[in-house]
Amino acid sequence: MAAPSICVPGQRLGRLDDNTTSGNGTYERNGFIYSSLAGYLESKDIDDGKKLVEVRTDTKKNIVPSVDAIVTARITNVTPRFCKCIMLSVGKTPLNEPFRGMLRKEDVRATEKDKVEMYKCFRPGDIIVARVLSLGDAHSYLLSTTENELGVVMAVSEAGATMVPISWCKMKCPKTMSEEPRKVAKVQPQFLQYSGT
């Protein structure tokens, strides 16, 4: 492979036409693709015969949570109406610094919303997988776990052992065999990857 070429912000990378798409670290202006980062130029072919032009950097990518993204978060605070958490990663990318999020009672599950009891769904310290609902109202990000795949993925029991899920609403402590209620996520392989285990 030829030595990858270095590009810098504002550098023109090529013409924007039907066969090319601009990816990370680039932007489009006046029918051309420009670089917006300092890094290495990378162009690869994606499925429908198009060429994706990207700028790759060695430094870790800076990202912020966006609407509809799947995030991994740790519960910090539980109240009857909502619980607060800090988001640790977005998709597969860990966040450089934690962002605060809020999960309201109405957004815990899709059915029987009015019967949700926050204490029976989450406890402080639980690791959850959630979807970003909206960018909140000037406070913090609003999260939702109204899908089967979303909810608690890791929790520690009162005895201090990591619990195993036994149903969608219960987890069991392997040490004391006691059961604790949680809104358990039906963990999918891709989410297992997300939580980095």
Partner: protein
């Protein structure tokens, strides 16, 4: 004024430069571990440090958050020992506040702010030694720091000053030339697309001469861009070379 002619008969300036010559620029990227991006620049005797943090969650008053773009927060400060006469307040005085605002406006225009809604980017600039062209050096240092932080920008922002002495436009003026009472034009551009993002003028300059001075200043920003560009390319190749040896 006797003994203080800014441009000699031979066409040299006080520090021996020709009218169109910049001072020597030396710069380094990534000088702090803690900051996400940092840079140090020397333009002649003007020395500036810049550090960039972010994008991160809004700090301080959360009401400042912008729902569709990132908040660029700048702080300009001058070390107490940076000037000939010791400064009392490193920041917070009128001049620094104005400078802070100008930096904010400049980088609002250059950073792709729409990518990080409801977040904040902090740019801290510290002037260690001041010899004219503080704003220019600050902008140039902050540009390098932003690039080092990996924050997407439309282009470099390069700034340069210019003046007009005895019918000749001079570029990148030093403290002596700045304080002689002549006109001072400060311009910041996106050099590749030739867009002006900031323009300031102090003192009076005849309209007929404006375009001459402006042209020279814009050319100065392109020269600055050339120097910064080389530094960034060198830094990028060095960093990756280092990482490759790290892995093996």
């Amino acid at each position: 004024m006797a003994g203080l002619e800014l441009l000699s008969d031979q066409g040299f300036r006080i520090d021996g430069r020709r009218p169109h010559e910049l001072r020597k620029i030396q710069c380094r990227l990534g000088i702090f571990k803690q900051a996400d991006g940092s840079a140090y620049i020397e333009q002649g005797n003007t020395k500036v440090l810049a550090a960039v943090y972010g994008p991160h969650e809004i700090r301080g008053s959360r009401g400042k958050a912008l729902h569709d773009k990132v908040l660029v927060n700048c702080q300009y400060s001058m070390a107490t020992f940076s000037t000939g006469e010791r400064k009392r307040r490193p920041r917070g005085d009128r001049k620094s506040q104005e400078m802070t605002m100008h930096l904010k406006q400049t980088f609002d225009a250059a950073i792709q702010t729409a990518l990080y809604p409801r977040s904040q980017i902090d740019i801290f600039v510290e002037v260690l030694q001041s010899d004219g062209g503080n704003y220019c050096a600050s902008v140039n240092a902050a540009t390098l720091a932003v690039i080092d932080a990996g924050i997407p920008m439309k282009d470099y922002v390069c700034a340069c000053s210019a003046s007009f002495v005895s019918d000749t436009p001079i570029v990148d003026i030093s403290y002596l030339e700045e304080s002689s009472g002549g006109p001072e034009l400060i311009v910041a551009t996106l050099p590749k697309s030739e867009q002006i993002v900031f323009l300031e003028q102090n003192s009076r300059l005849h309209e007929d001469n404006l375009s001459k001075v402006l042209d020279l200043a814009v050319k100065g920003t392109k020269d600055v861009h050339h120097v910064l560009d080389q530094a960034v390319r060198e830094h990028v190749s060095q960093v990756s070379a280092f990482e490759n040896t790290d892995q093996s």
